[in-house]
Symmetry: D2
Subunit: 366 residues, 4 copies
């Protein structure tokens, strides 16, 4: 299976990079939800390429069309199917790829799994382009979460070796997160941002690419979301984050660095603030025993350098079974990280909405 996810909110993802369209069915939304369509458009625009020299000049306007489940401005309770029709695709660019598998991409594994029947054009169903419908669904989830005062935002923690400070895990507010979502290249420190962009442009000049880490925070979450074990909040969120191509690591709270701490440092002590139970540090990133504790939820996702690069690479021609070389032609991103920000946020929004429905049903949405 590659295309279905969710327990309370069911997603069904379909489409190919160079096929007719890409799309998603969302099942489980209640009737009567007003959808802010311009907001969905803005979220898609955050993911879209071609906005600046940091990304591919390929234009994907990513205009979406709702095919079902929407009537007179609100959801109807029936499954919502949305598609983005493909345009401006240069299929010719990819004809070489039929047999010569691109290193770092899914070309080889797709060919093995689907025994050569996969649509290889532009990666087909395996293309990063399929994250656009995920952002579409995520934009709907974000709108719904916002009704409960839940806000998601991110900054770029590092691009290659250029790094800025972490979020202050105790003092994140929705105002900061909102500001970050309005930035094309969201960072906390302008100076670090300038150096990160230079890093990207330098890689681009060398026909190479760079990766980075996205740090995401969610504020306004109630305590009590998630479960111990199989449906822990970490499991649900990480499941969707690792569904995003290019994500190779996920950590919550202090993450891998927590292993360098003593228990007496890592345990977040409890205190009362206005009779509300809070923790005095937040190394667990707002999740204990798989369940949210009401503190800011914090995670980081590692995004690998874009595999499409102009440099010559060693590879294999699968038809002739011979070693060969490849130079990936076409218009590629020297760095996918800024465009991955709304994708990572969407994964979190969808996982959290599923957990919210488990906890409270759907009636609160209206």
């Amino acid at each position: 299976m590659s295309g279905t996810w969710g327990e309370y909110l069911k997603l069904s993802l379909f489409g190919e990079s160079h096929g007719k369209c890409i799309g998603i069915v969302l099942d489980g939304l209640p009737a009567g939800l007003k959808l802010d369509l311009p907001f969905i458009g803005r979220e898609l625009a955050r993911r879209a390429p071609g906005k600046n020299p940091l990304s591919t000049p390929r234009k994907e306007k990513d205009e979406f069309e709702i095919l079902s489940g929407f009537f007179k401005g609100t959801t109807t309770g029936a499954p919502l199917c949305c598609v983005i029709w493909n345009k401006d695709q240069h299929s010719g660019d990819y004809s070489e790829l039929k047999d010569t598998v691109r290193p770092g991409h899914a070309d080889y594994t797709a060919m093995v799994k689907h025994r050569g029947f996969n649509d290889y054009r532009g990666g087909g169903h395996f293309s990063g382009r399929l994250t656009a419908p995920l952002v579409l669904a995520g934009a709907i989830a974000k709108q719904v979460l916002e009704k409960k005062g839940i806000m998601i935002g991110s900054h770029i923690l590092n691009i290659g070796g250029i790094r800025e400070d972490h979020f202050d895990s105790l003092r994140i507010d929705s105002g900061l997160l909102w500001k970050l979502t309005e930035q094309e290249f969201p960072i906390l420190s302008e100076e670090a941002g300038i150096r990160m962009k230079q890093e990207i442009l330098q890689a681009k000049a060398k026909e190479d690419s760079v990766g980075g880490v996205i740090e995401t925070a969610v504020v306004g979450l109630p305590a009590g979301l998630g479960s111990p074990f199989f449906d822990s909040a970490e499991s649900k969120i990480a499941h969707l984050l690792f569904a995003v191509p290019a994500v190779k690591g996920v950590e919550f709270g202090t993450g891998f660095a927590i292993t360098q701490m003593k228990g007496s440092e890592a345990n977040d002590p409890y205190a009362l603030a206005d009779d509300k139970v809070v923790t005095l540090s937040n190394h667990n990133g707002g999740i204990l025993g798989g369940i949210t504790n009401g503190m800011p939820l914090l995670f980081r996702a590692a995004v690998k350098p874009t595999p499409s690069i102009g440099k010559v690479q060693q590879t294999v021609n699968m038809a002739s079974r011979e070693e060969t070389q490849i130079t990936v032609q076409g218009r590629h991103d020297p760095c996918i990280v800024p465009r991955a920000v709304p994708v990572v946020e969407s994964a979190a929004a969808l996982a959290l909405l599923d957990l919210m429905i488990e906890k409270d049903g759907v009636t609160w949405m209206n």
Copy 2:
């Protein structure tokens, strides 16, 4: 939901730390599987406490009993229910915990989620003890995978700040992994192991605890396991890893460090070895586009320091709504990492077996 997992192999986990038993139902195993019961016992023993001064002196013999689905030495095709009866529990030790929530544990979140009706004794259903049935199920999955020549093994990469080398991601073999599974404290370098143990004993002496990172490798996997997006191999494995209490980070291949590399370094170039497609490096940890590529699968799991410590900690009494202090009594692990090794391996074994069944059905098991 806290207790069910799986698409092809369904798990149903139940039990409490100080209740009658802990157990698991496995549904989806084919009939006619001979089970190596002593192997299951040995895997449980790897997780069991009380073996040495590095862990809690609490004895949990963890003898298991198969209640159903097993007849004349083989599985019957019906659901396999296995339990471990609880013994040697000192419920008295935990009576204080009813109201005073332990920092770093699930006490507070369990209380919020279950509105005070949770079994609080020893963490109840949220206890790390529930990982024993997971190891039991994992031991069965491992046996099955071994029939296809698939071997899983791990070493401890670091305890606190004491660190040893990574696996050589290209040259891991089943012999090495086998040897590691036979070690009580699995490490590649004996010298590093000695220092790690010292680190643990020092923390113990200070009534404190330490965490660490487990690095796990899987060899012998076929190419083609997993799917793009929602059921990526990374998603499935990470979902189960984050179901393990104390895991706060998961990364595949070079993981977070891949964000420091250029695309030209991070892409694993293809070559032919005896007409088999291989990669010349393995920064993607054996997974591309969510699907295994036949190279060693490699991941790391960050395990936080044991939250149970003898030091005085700040907390809140939930009944009186007052700030207070707690000293966690009882017999605790200064470091859970060595005991977490078979748990982490079980999570991987179960996720991979589910993917194997998706790909090839169940007939190959016999």
Copy 3:
């Protein structure tokens, strides 16, 4: 898969007729539910054999034990595992069945599916005895539904050719249903009941068996439960009813007889009663478009004659691949219908509770 069911409330069924126990895990119940254990016992007693000459003299006291998820008299929110330990089983009676398959039973299909590895003693996992844990789970569901004023009850519509009147589909009330659940042999007309019992005793005298139809009604349901298409209320209920061994037909409302009506007769016209929308007839059995309409929900389940009979039957010895004859020894039910009543009601209760949770979440239960 044979053992898991449910979307919001997850069931995991396990055990064998002559193994150690039979049992079930219920996952998805909220914390804090007081369970009426004597009521569960009474429901199990309704299903238990050996009460009168109409059923097998085999005694199954069916005392249940809760292994997990229950603490201080209420559910904890963690999975509830309940078992019934097997006693009074005469395994010797079934030794012949290893190879000689009983007509009308699952012996042959179980052997094919599980390639001879199934536990054949008394039908093993395929035994009707596995409906006891279903009744146990159903008894919990019934208690919960009752909090919303939802009541389920049944009468025996026919035993063989002896038939009584249908429920009046518009005028069923909870008082009548309650009275029916207290009868060992629930019927509307005492006179018909006497003749049905005679029919059973006559079959018994001839070493034969009879079947019958159970008619079940549910009152107090809110309108709006269920969905069009895949999760229609009919689909959910019928799915569980057909999970009950021996059920060969299910119909809702007027059922098969509605095909003899004109649209102008079958359509249930709407009217207002105290400003509540009601229908003036109830041929659709309380369900339209897969969704409850607030009228009494009505269905019938056809239960085939007990396959275990003392008469000589033609069959095949699977080991020698020869045609042979069989006389099923042991203590059998000449008619399973009265004992199937609580099973059928449990199936409905569980399906409806799952739909209630979908609609309203779980908070109303407390």
Copy 4:
């Protein structure tokens, strides 16, 4: 949830009667399946209205378009999304229905469930038109099953009170079934067919409608499909059959009439035919203990009279909360039964394919 189904083959159904389109996503088909597109078209044509005076003159050409998962004439292994664009809809006909609920339809229950936000035009998502994508998916399932020699066919057992003979449950062959699928009005006896059509035309003349029973057989099935209890072959098939609007009863084998038989009559005795185990009667309809036994699988589905009739009916205006009358305008079917035949067959084909994949994986399809 209304729109997702399946364990191994996942379906996601979407669309509205008068919206842009109706469609379905199929996830879980292997790559490399050649699809016989004209066959899909012919199956859709069997369901389409407007072919003869027995059905509505409304034309629905139901041309389908594959949006994803199909490349160079075969499936790619990625989700297959197919849509049928809506044309020739007279939305004006339905404007009255916004408030005045049609008896026998889902108008009232849809309004309650979706609190008035449902698309009411022509029944919206609740329309029988949504069965077209189900037939589309079923046509694919049928093609795949045919590769294993599995053939599905049906005849109309009765229209109102006009009835013909049952299938001979032992002697159905694929030739007969094939012939039936080629008939617009499939019957075993031409004479009965003539009288059934007269029954339909008489109802039409009176602005009324009639229902009927469809009897379906499946031959060529292997023994061993299905499971005891929750995923019994009966449960899976009945679940999908009851997802079809208008189906109010489902029975297998001799069905409800088996309750009139003795065990000694109803048990199907075993014999050997060319060393193959067969039964000498087939009252269980090819399923024992939830698992196929290799005999013809036989079921019947009761289809209620079309609720849309020209006669005046009592109803309620939901906006004004007043009792009122309705005459359903528009072009309606006096009898839906012939058009329901491919829908019922599709439900069976999809359920059986899901069970086939469970048993044998997907590799046999290629």
